[in-house]
């Protein structure tokens, strides 16, 4: 059973913008798949379609063999945005326990899991802090801990490290890989950083400019575990070059042609 199965998905917004056309993609359990493409190519929209936060105009999406809608109701995935979206009025620990409260876990079970997650992202010392007291990188780690708190098999991430500086980003990349392997989850990761995509993924999906379609898929055969040393290997550079050339070939313009990715008002 595939983790995510996308067939013929298209998305047209009411303003007449075609974000996606004819997307076919399968993600196997345990994979780490990156979606990369120029700004405005619809990769964030595609991620939201997988998460049933946006409805496709055509095509079907199945997560864990169920329709995306069922999967969302069954809490099959956790999502991390570029903005950590933590609640200022809750402590770090309470932010992580939010989904667990919604799932009506018992107090004891919640507290135990929160402690586990804090250890996983190495923020145990900050349990009682408030989000604004943490740096951007730390906030994202809390967001990741929250997304994984109920052990979903699928993790959707929308440029989660986009707002961070390069060094923090590389460090969090390594941590994310560690967490991915510890939890054995499937990850669909949106980014516009080529090195990040190659470093993290088992496969990199290159998307074309709007209207977005899948231009190419690159298998990243680098061995695990990947470290900073991996970034300096010749094979890494070859793969980065390969992805870049696919991007250019798919019509990625030299400038930024982004229009805001459009999100529909939730009902």
């Amino acid at each position: 059973m595939t983790a995510v199965s996308i067939r013929g998905v298209s998305k047209q917004f009411r303003a007449g913008i075609t974000a996606l056309t004819g997307i076919d993609l399968d993600v196997e359990p345990g994979e780490f798949v990156s979606l990369i493409g120029p700004s405005g190519c619809g990769k964030s929209t595609l991620l939201r379609i997988i998460g049933d936060l946006v409805q496709p105009t055509a095509g079907t999406v199945e997560v864990n063999g169920k329709p995306a809608n069922r999967a969302r109701r069954d809490h099959d995935y956790g999502i991390v945005f570029q903005d950590a979206v933590l609640y200022d009025w809750r402590t770090v620990a309470k932010n992580i326990s939010l989904p667990l409260e919604l799932l009506r876990w018992s107090r004891g079970r919640r507290d135990a899991r929160v402690d586990e997650m804090l250890e996983l992202v190495e923020l145990s010392a900050f349990a009682k802090h408030h989000p604004w007291q943490l740096s951007g990188g730390m906030q994202q780690r809390v967001a990741i801990a929250r997304a994984l708190s109920f052990s979903p098999s699928l993790l959707l991430m929308d440029e989660p490290f986009g707002a961070l500086d390069e060094m923090t980003r590389e460090r969090l990349n390594a941590e994310l890989l560690r967490i991915w392997q510890d939890t054995r989850s499937t990850v669909v990761f949106v980014t516009h950083s080529i090195p990040e995509a190659v470093f993290l993924s088992t496969r990199v999906v290159v998307m074309s400019a709007r209207p977005g379609r899948i231009a190419n898929v690159v298998d990243v055969g680098l061995p695990q575990p990947r470290t900073n040393a991996t970034r300096e290997e010749p094979r890494f550079f070859e793969l980065v070059t390969q992805v870049r050339e696919h991007l250019i070939a798919s019509g990625a313009p030299l400038g930024d042609t982004s229009t805001p990715t459009l999100v529909e008002e939730p009902a």
């Binding site: 969302r72 109701r73 809490h75 995935y77 956790g78 200022d88 989904p99 604004w132």
Partner: protein, 274 residues
């Protein structure tokens, strides 16, 4: 941008008051101001009944402190009753409008425009309806004055939620009620308090000015008006001082409640540092 601006911008206390030294200019200005007032009145031989000396006001205040206090309490009760009634209604209506968004979206501009109506003009009607001597007539005015700022600010707080936050809750398959409880309502608290602080000032005004249109002699507004009609300006100013004291106290109480319940809120809109 808010059409209902909070009277004291968030963070102003922290910025200005952090060091005792920061207060020195303010204290100096205060002393200078009082001295100048006193001096000008004396030097220009301004008659006491036109603009009394600060010392005369202080004397009158001290002399009448018991009466002023009981009058102040009477008026404050009217303000408090109106504050509670108007704010309660405002919060309730805001919740309704936030739950049924199309309704709120359509009526919001009208609520903002209705806020521009001089509600105080209804004071004589309230007296006619409930009776001059009935404190409820002033409470009604205060309530009307408090309703709109509280409603508008609370509604703004309930609806100014980061879209990603709504998406996050959807990803948890959390329905509307839980979205309200976990996201919208906590998010609205700072805005609610902005509205409540404006309401404290307005409720005092409603009570006192409402009394200018008629009320029992045990009320502060009536006493101030009588004093000024008979030319006893010193007494009138003493009454104003008492009214201001109650106003500041009321505001401070709500501000303190705000500090306690929303201490998590970063003072995002603080004045830029010098």
């Amino acid at each position: 941008m808010s059409a209902i601006v909070q009277p004291v911008p968030v963070g102003i206390g922290r910025r200005v008051g952090r060091h005792a030294l920061d207060w020195i200019p303010a204290v100096i200005i205060f002393a200078l101001g009082i001295a100048a007032w006193q001096g000008l009145v004396v030097v220009f031989h301004v008659q006491d009944f036109l603009l009394p000396k600060p010392t005369s006001i202080a004397t009158a205040f001290w002399h009448d402190k018991h009466v002023l206090w009981s009058e102040g309490v009477y008026t404050f009760k009217e303000a408090l009753g109106g504050f509670a009634l108007g704010s309660g209604l405002g919060i309730a209506v805001a919740l309704v409008f936030a739950a049924w968004r199309p309704l709120g979206g359509v009526f919001m501009p009208y609520a903002v425009a209705a806020n521009a109506i001089p509600i105080i003009a209804f004071a004589p009607i309230m007296n006619d309806w409930f009776g001059l001597l009935n404190p409820f007539s002033k409470m009604a005015i205060a309530a009307l004055l408090c309703f709109f700022p509280v409603m508008i600010n609370t509604l703004r707080g309930l609806t100014s939620v980061h879209p990603s936050s709504v998406e996050l809750m959807r990803s948890y398959a959390a329905g509307r009620a839980r979205l309200f409880r976990h996201v919208r309502i906590p998010n609205a608290l700072p805005h609610l308090f902005t509205g409540l602080k404006v309401a404290t000032v307005l409720s005092m005004i409603g009570a006192i000015v409402g009394e200018y249109f008629g009320g029992p002699t045990s009320a502060l507004g009536v006493s101030i008006l009588n004093a000024s009609s008979y030319g006893r300006f010193t007494d009138a100013w003493a009454g104003i001082v008492m009214a201001s004291a109650f106003g500041i106290l009321f505001y401070a109480l709500v501000a303190m409640a705000e500090r306690l319940t929303t201490s998590w809120h970063p003072s995002a809109r603080a004045f830029r540092s010098e």
